[in-house]
Symmetry: C2
């Protein structure tokens, strides 16, 4: 739907900026994905996207491409240009110095260090500014970053896989290859997009899971340039993990969340034990999520069993469900998808809103947003 | 995909015949849905579809419309023209008498009374014949009729509704409005398409269900012309049904399938008690299905609880699953979708093939075919 405040051309150039921004989705963390397009006489004269934290912002790439031609141009950016000195100088300053005459941002940056100050800086320099073009699409670029900036909590995507009757394992525990290889490949992309993969000690021990990204299984070309592994965060309230597990054979950052330190093992250098306050002898989940946000974790992929997944839903910490379903029927004696309290009325049941629905190989995959009460 | 034996025009006219045939889908039972298009000089000169058993066949409608013009025309029929005297004279004879010069059938009629004899009769009269154009689409018109003709069993479509985690009721039995009003409307259309709705005494008693078609809830215009109620078939192995139930307040044919007669109640005139052989004190399901097929029931909609649905799958009597899922999570203490044996290996689990997947209101609905081993 076109926003009548903006022209069809404005929509076109902002769409291009959004497409550019997406190319950074496996690499920019903890920074947001941002794209920028510079336009003069209806021609794109510069464009770019943010690739990696510490590297140039999208605007810098676009300005460099445009050179002196940027004078008098219109800049389309998917997020308000920054106004503060971080690892790079403020982009608002760069746009001013280049002589850009108009800046349209898809949305204001909720980062407290920006929050309208970028647009203000531009206006004070006499540049025409506007925002609110393709905002939904721009929001979707940065689900994790935006949630963290607004709530000091990460965006949690809960990935689950089951048969059509919502079962995850037979009565004897057998669960190998419920879903297809195509579904498992999609999971690799979900991991690659995430800042952290969160699981529980049980799952890690039972499946002897590594929980790393197998980049060679990714379809997306963009991901081929990335070798960034998400931080693996394992909740181990009973100190049951041991260094022999496959998890620890993969060298990349692991956080073990515990209620008390375990010094009975020697852990590899990439493992950090983090002590989180206990609630009923278990790691307090809201406290853990807040701690992850403090460490600039934007997007968490929860890959857990029925108990931890249920506790995360109960604590209202899950934003999105990604559910893979295999065309099988496993029956009532098999294990259920998610453990929740014994509700007495349908009105107490967690409700979601289905956003997307698709075939993945022989399976189906749906994305649903958790409705907040 | 075009079949190179046939021209693009042939495909176009047969597609039209298939669209026509669909218009009979709420009314033709126990006859098949058939459409016919008569073409001369690349113009449609006559068309029709079978509306109701006992009434004219598709070819008769099309020939009547074409009149004398039918001489030298090509007939496109979705099913081989019949060769036998039933309630109407054979259509092959009608086509011969009208002077049609070419007949293309989408498929041969597996009805033992036809089975190639219709095409043979046409050929013997010097008419050019062919078949095998858009066969899959033609098969889809008559899932029930074709299955019955080929196997002497009805086509069984199992309709189930659950939350995303495959639950149908809370631990205390509450299950009202798990799915949306849109999904319930689609169920009405599924009922209207069926020759019989099959359920168990438990479901009828617990839900006090009528299991009839509420025609005012149907979206489809075609259905507005129909007031045909599917036969309601209720399995009541323990003779638990009583005439006060809502089921018996709706006047239309009911078959109660039992292992022994219940003469302790006076039943309305539209109720028939049918005695089926017992297996483990329960109505033998294959015997019941064979009995329904003998009574010309083509398509059965199974609307049952977890136990009966499971038994039907176990007995290999279900052809298709229609699963509605509401965007809710009900948790492990809730009731499971389907009761099946406690499998020890994933290789024993019933497998399906997902054919269609769509949003229905806030819910999703999928159709899946049961894979035969």
């Amino acid at each position: 739907m076109l926003d009548s405040r903006f022209s069809e051309r404005d929509h076109f150039f902002m769409s291009r900026a959004i497409e550019l921004a997406k190319q950074g989705r496996f690499t920019t963390t903890p920074n947001p994905n941002v794209g920028c397009v510079l336009v003069k006489d209806n021609q794109i004269i510069g464009e770019g996207f943010h690739i990696q934290a510490g590297g140039p912002h999208a605007e810098v790439h676009a300005l460099k491409m445009a050179g002196d031609n940027a004078k008098g141009a219109t800049a389309y950016v998917t997020l308000e240009p920054c106004s503060h000195y971080g690892r790079t100088p403020p982009c608002a300053e760069g746009l001013i110095n280049a002589g850009v005459s108009r800046v349209i941002a898809a949305m204001v940056d909720p980062n407290p260090e920006v929050a309208g100050r970028g647009l203000k800086m531009l206006e004070d320099a006499g540049i025409e500014t506007d925002f609110g073009l393709l905002t939904n699409e721009a929001e979707a670029l940065n689900l994790g970053f935006l949630k963290r900036m607004r709530t000091n909590l990460p965006y949690v995507r809960c990935k689950l896989a089951a048969s059509l009757d919502g079962k995850t394992a037979l009565h004897n525990g057998e669960s190998k290859w419920i879903t297809s290889s195509e579904s498992r490949r999609v999971v690799q992309a979900l991991r690659a997009e995430s800042c952290a993969v969160l699981s529980g000690a049980d799952t890690v021990i039972i499946d002897n899971a590594k929980l790393n990204v197998r980049f060679d299984e990714l379809d997306e070309l963009d991901a081929k340039h990335s070798t960034r592994q998400p931080v693996r965060v394992i909740i181990d309230s009973q100190n049951r993990l041991t260094p022999e597990l496959a998890l620890f054979q993969q060298e990349s950052k692991i956080i073990i969340a515990r209620t008390k330190l375990d010094n009975s093992h020697t852990w590899p250098h990439f493992v950090e034990q983090v002590i989180v306050k206990a609630t009923n002898d278990k790691v307090d989940l809201p406290a853990l999520m807040a701690m992850l946000a403090e460490r600039s974790i934007n997007l968490v992929l929860l890959e857990a069993g029925a108990t931890l997944a249920g506790k995360m839903f109960e604590a209202n910490l899950v934003d999105e469900l990604v559910l893979f379903m295999a065309p099988k029927l496993m029956g009532h004696t098999s294990k259920s998808l998610i453990n929740l309290p014994a509700f007495d009325a349908m009105s107490q049941v967690p409700e979601l809103e289905i956003k997307t629905l698709k075939h993945v190989g022989q399976d189906i995959c749906l994305h649903a947003l958790v409705k907040r009460n």
